[in-house]
Symmetry: C2
Subunit: 249 residues, 2 copies
């Protein structure tokens, strides 16, 4: 997924973009950025790991300046940290951070969803129905998703949550929510191999969808909070029990 790089083609209103925006022709920076993001989220580049420019430039096939620029842009998403004279590191992980992310994400995503439901028009409904339908297809397809399906599920899960909050008028809430969702996904991918092993995620998504379409704000708050909590619980247990994933003692 493109994370916080927004392809603006389907945004109708005169919204001002925040952050990096892609355009027709790509650049080496964008390519490196996309690959680096995926490698960080997937855990190929490990949490806290030092990102040596000299070493990585050959790996990603770009010059030093280009790689540094890509890494600098990833600081925007808090996936990379930069320290003067000491280079770049992959953002570290911790149980504390996971909890913080989940709680803050709940606050922002619930707010965004409520506002979205309040302001959403017919077009928003159509987009949400579409996103929900695509997500349903892949979630009902298999008991535990195969490796290939996982990537598709991840993409559609992101798109569903994006569609849910798309009508929230606050660009800032949407942006912050998106960043936290990415980090949430990172923790999930670092700790879990498959989706929905010990819970039926689709039921949760269905509840969210139904409440949103019914404009039932109260229920929406409840089921959405529950959804994020459940994700947290599962990941938290895994991270806690796997010392290799948990650099913090």
């Amino acid at each position: 997924m493109d994370g916080n790089i927004r392809f603006m083609d389907n945004i109708s209103k005169t919204e001002i973009p925040i952050g990096v925006v892609a355009s027709a022709t790509s650049t080496r920076v964008l390519e490196a950025l996309t690959q680096l993001r995926e490698d960080i989220i997937s855990g190929i580049l490990k949490p806290g790991e030092k990102l040596r420019v000299q070493h990585l430039k050959s790996k990603y096939g770009v010059g030093a300046a280009t790689l540094r620029e890509a890494l600098s842009l990833l600081v925007s998403e808090s996936l990379v940290t930069a320290t003067a004279q000491r280079g770049f590191n992959v953002a570290p992980i911790s149980l504390q951070d996971l909890k913080d992310i989940s709680e803050t994400r709940t606050m922002l995503e619930v707010q965004a969803a409520v506002e979205s439901v309040k302001h959403g028009d017919e077009e928003w409904e159509v987009q949400l129905i579409g996103a929900y339908h695509r997500l349903t297809k892949v979630e009902e397809g298999t008991e535990d998703l195969a490796n290939s399906s996982t990537a598709i599920w991840e993409q559609r899960n992101i798109e569903f949550h994006e569609a849910l909050v798309a009508a929230c008028p606050s660009r800032w809430i949407r942006q912050f929510r998106s960043i936290l969702h990415t980090h949430s996904e990172r923790y999930r991918r670092l700790s879990l191999q498959t989706v929905g092993v010990s819970r039926n995620v689709h039921i949760e998504h269905q509840e969210i969808f139904d409440a949103a379409m019914a404009r039932d704000t109260k229920t929406l708050v409840k089921v959405l909070t529950n959804h994020i909590d459940k994700t947290f619980d599962v990941v938290y247990q895994m991270v806690k029990e796997d010392p290799s994933l948990n650099p913090i003692t």
Copy 2:
């Protein structure tokens, strides 16, 4: 989420930095970054303006790659936007954006302050008292602050608000709050020459300080919300009435 608090007792309190971190020796990137940020917030570099690397590199006395890296890091703070093959721009402004910033900032800052009051220890109190004292000195010094004092007031105002929320355990809320505070300051500086012309800001700060020290959450929420609203009102009127500041129709 509160239901999971019990698992958190053994979570380490070690804080992980988000974003760019300075170290003992500075770098050309950091110098350019600092100057660029100041120039954007102060309006020397105008909202929406194209940031030509070729032109600016001589102005800031650095190479192209270094300048690009500084600009890329400013994307983290949403002060600069980057578009592939089309370079960098100063983040645009709009009335809509100002409203969004103020509302989102209220949500985050109130939350952060309440949590900070809840968790703040003696050291937090000491730091807050110090920050408040330094702010008071400059706010009571003059009726309308002279140009030289304005810069000091801005610095101390930031430090006071930072100190207020310093004990909030959520790094993410603090980070997002800080970004929005910077943007809020930018709008204020773009529209107002001096502080406290039509209102006594210090009384508001005093109310905030008193409520925080008394751990009176309810009052704190009220006066802090009021404070951000008031700032918004003043700036909104100025921006609205000054077409040169308002590129959005």
